[in-house]
Assembly symmetry: C2
Homo-oligomer: 138 residues x 2
Amino acid sequence: MTRDISDILKTNGFKITSTRLAILKVFSSDCKPINAEYIHDKLKKEKVNIVTIYRTLISFENAGIIKRVDMQKDSVYYELAGHHHHHIICTDCGMVESFDGCDLDNLSKEVLKSSNNFSLINKHSLELFGLCKKCCKN
Amino acid sequence: MTRDISDILKTNGFKITSTRLAILKVFSSDCKPINAEYIHDKLKKEKVNIVTIYRTLISFENAGIIKRVDMQKDSVYYELAGHHHHHIICTDCGMVESFDGCDLDNLSKEVLKSSNNFSLINKHSLELFGLCKKCCKN
DNA sequence: ATATTAAATGCAAATAGGTTGCAATTGTGG
DNA sequence: CCACAATTGCAACCTATTTGCATTTAATAT
């Protein structure tokens, strides 16, 4: 487990530090998009400086270990890049559920075919917003 | 034209001011997602305070006149809410093209059916990212 | 094991994007 | 054209994030 995590660092050419291991552990234990402050809170015993967290997030994103998620919030949320999926987000309480099978490759091909200006699509963002059962009752 | 625009304001219960007309005119002449600073630049002759622009954007969004677009940038982008569509965005030069026919209502239904926790989906964000023909040559 | 060194971290300060309080101005119904 | 609430501008503030620089530390060579 910690083995897997330090392998992630090693294969990406990062030095293995307790801070980075801890940040990765937060990502893999909480299976939802999180932001710098959330990580900072989770690691408050470890007294990790928030600047370090921001810097780590940037380098993890560049390495493709994590990726941004559009949560329509005021700060940047990330999650492990692992396998491709998307989210439903409750606009009331923030609850998040994920789903696979977006089948946007087809759409991308169609769009590309009928576009005069674009020649490559390599990424997409897709999030659904709504209300969870609990919040819907209000 | 200016008539149409002031009607938008009137039907939404806004007072008709030159600032608001000017902001709406920027939206309708530039058919792409724009942010507060872009509007501020376009209206620099008119010397509109940027705070006013921020406030106007918020009230237009609340009224449903404009809506947010996820551009994966550091500021909030909006466009006229008009008809439903999405974008392809060049991650190199920022060029934007739009397309219709996302057919996410089907996907939403499927997702909702197989979700234990959600009972309503009323919004989605979908953007494609890639390279335009010009940038692809580099 | 130890020295070396580039990478990683912490701290303080700066920046960027956006918001708030309040006083001055202005559009609009009566 | 009067009254008044809505709108705007200005200054100050706030939150999220970045930068500069000095210090520490993991990894490598010895």
